[in-house]
């Protein structure tokens, strides 16, 4: 499938991929990733280990060549080198020459991103301060802890004030204060109008921070959730009743997902609590004798576990 002319004109998208696939020999790492990320949003990219998250990010950043499919970054093909002036990236395990000081490292990455000497003069101390490393700005990286490396890595990803930032596990190795700081920085990025593509295993962090999340499994998007329009998340409902019939599932399909009837128990999930009275009215009007109607909110973690199924031990 090719990107259509319409899709090429989608200025509101920071990222658009269609059928992005990566195969290493006979092993398929990413089966066919199709997603759209709107500009100015904080986008969570979730999936179990081995789901193809890192490979997907690497393809979008031009580190890994896709086997097939297409991807656009800020309206340009992913392979466009110039567009990377507007892109920042914090790798999962950020490392660099350990003889550099924090200030030297930031200046180097700033220069590579195209900043002028005058800009570096202002931004290097400002971004070191942003990530809380001012007391360590002249210290060599070899003395840095993993958390400090994550912080300086975050600063190098942001120093050129990119329009799109990829953060791969930004809070790994950080203490609670560090995690709080990263959350604040991500929010600041949104206020600045930047798009943040966040890959994190800490679902509670994602739930607090992100506008939208997608779940990927075997290199494909299997579900997505808009955390702002339905802040309560998915609601799982158990209904204990008599006269349950299979045709009821069709009747409630417009409000529900994954509905099933086992004996006297009807279970379904719905995206909004506003639908609950309508569903209940429909059941009663369909001569179902309802004894129990129990809605339960699913946290992002519960949704994740439900969508991903059994632990694959990866």
């Amino acid at each position: 499938m090719r990107l259509t002319e319409d899709s090429l004109q989608t200025d509101h998208l920071a990222i658009e991929t269609i059928g992005l696939r990566k195969q290493f020999g006979s092993k398929v790492a990413v089966r066919g990733l199709s997603l759209q990320v709107r500009r100015g949003k904080i986008f969570g990219f979730l999936g179990p280990n081995g789901a193809g998250k890192s490979t997907s990010i690497k393809m979008l950043l031009g580190l890994v060549k896709p086997t097939s499919g297409q991807a656009q970054i800020l309206g340009h093909p992913y392979s466009n080198v110039e567009v990377r002036r507007k892109v920042g990236f914090l790798p999962e395990d950020f490392r660099f020459y350990d003889w550099l000081t924090a200030s030297e490292l930031l200046a180097l990455h700033g220069r590579l991103a195209g900043l002028t000497q005058a800009q570096l003069h202002d931004r290097v101390p400002a971004y070191i301060d942003l990530v809380g490393l001012t007391p360590h700005r002249d210290r060599r990286l070899r003395g840095f802890s993993k958390g400090m490396m994550q912080r300086i890595g975050l600063a190098q990803a942001l120093i050129h004030e990119p329009e799109l930032v990829f953060l791969d596990e930004p809070t790994s190795g950080l203490d609670p204060m560090g995690r709080h700081l990263v959350r604040d920085i991500i929010r600041n990025e949104r206020q600045r109008g930047a798009t943040v593509f966040l890959n994190s295993h800490l679902l509670s962090e994602v739930e607090i921070t992100c506008d939208t999340v997608v779940f990927i499994k075997h290199g494909e998007v299997v579900a997505s959730r808009d955390l702002r329009s339905s802040p309560d998340g998915e609601i799982q409902v158990h209904v204990r009743a008599h006269n349950l019939r299979q045709d009821l599932l069709l009747g409630i399909a417009e409000w529900t997902t994954s509905a099933q009837i086992v004996d006297d128990l009807l279970s379904f999930a719905t995206g909004s609590r506003d639908t609950l009275p309508q569903i209940l009215r429909y059941l009663v009007s369909s001569n179902v004798d309802v004894f129990e109607f129990t809605p339960q909110h699913l946290s992002l973690e519960e949704s994740f576990l439900k969508i991903m199924g059994e632990d694959q031990g990866l």
Partner: protein
């Protein structure tokens, strides 16, 4: 082009901090001290003054050739050991990711690294070559022939080794890369000797084997050319030392070596462009 120079500069700084470079410099300093002391004892030896001047000069010239041979070997080893993990190591440790995702072309990244190492090797070769030259000049009172040409050829040899290390670094792991490049250099060394022996015994088969090994890896040919141009015409005629050159590779062979370097560098750039990081 700015990106290219940023990478070249940081690579030079990184390479200049490698312990292996300082070890190679210390080894070279120890060698020069030993070599200088040896030449001093030789010049001051009471029997040495009784030797005819032509033979005396030949003995000192041979000692100087040994000196250049030793620093050539050190320079090649230092080149391989400092650069062997530059690509494969940084790819394996993911260090390269933060740089490769900046607005920089892959060719700029690889060529910048190559230039950084080339500058560091130039400084090393210049320093150790000057050391041997100074020992010959101040202690042995020898005026080395074509010193600049000789030093340039030794540098060319190191650049070929560097480029081969970069090329194999785009494909293999650090250890495999090191084994391949040093193995090829060893092969060229043996081939060079076979060719030399073949030229003395007039065995075409040995000469052909030597040429074949030079085509595979032209480093030894470049060294033998360097050794040849640095010898005086009299020394070339009567030289019987194992460090001189009886069968000198032609200028065409040097042109081939330059072409070899350019092709290897182009292949490294192509391969690096294609590979996943």
């Amino acid at each position: 082009m700015t990106q290219l120079w940023i990478i070249a500069r940081i690579t030079f700084q990184e390479a200049a901090r490698r312990k292996i470079l300082w070890t190679a410099l210390l080894t070279a300093a120890a060698f020069l001290a030993l070599f200088g002391t040896g030449m001093h004892f030789q010049v001051r030896s009471p029997h040495f003054a009784n030797i005819p001047p032509l033979i005396r000069n030949q003995i000192l010239s041979t000692m100087l050739q040994v000196g250049f041979y030793a620093i050539d070997m050190l320079a090649v080893l230092m080149t391989v050991l400092t650069s062997v993990d530059s690509l494969s190591g940084e790819i394996a440790s993911s260090t390269i990711q933060a740089v490769a995702t900046k607005p920089i072309h892959r060719w700029q990244l690889l060529l910048g690294k190559w230039l950084g190492f080339a500058a560091m090797i130039a400084a090393y070769v210049a320093l150790v070559f000057a050391g041997v030259f100074a020992v010959g000049y101040f202690i042995g009172d020898l005026r080395q022939h074509n010193a600049l040409q000789g030093a340039s050829l030794i540098y060319l040899e190191c650049l070929i080794v560097l480029t081969a290390t970069f090329l194999f670094g785009t494909v293999f792991s650090t250890l495999t890369n090191g084994v391949i490049v040093l193995g090829l250099h060893g092969l060229a060394f043996i081939g060079g000797w076979l060719e030399q022996i073949g030229s003395v015994t007039q065995s075409d088969r040995l000469i052909n084997l030597g040429i074949f090994s030079s085509i595979l890896m032209p480093t030894e040919s470049v060294w033998r050319r360097a050794s040849y141009v640095m010898q005086s015409s009299i020394a070339r005629t009567i030289d019987l030392s194992p460090f001189g050159t009886r069968s000198a590779p032609s200028v065409t062979m040097i042109l081939y070596a330059i072409l070899y370097l350019l092709i290897a560098l182009s292949l490294a750039l192509y391969r690096f462009q294609q590979r996943d990081l």
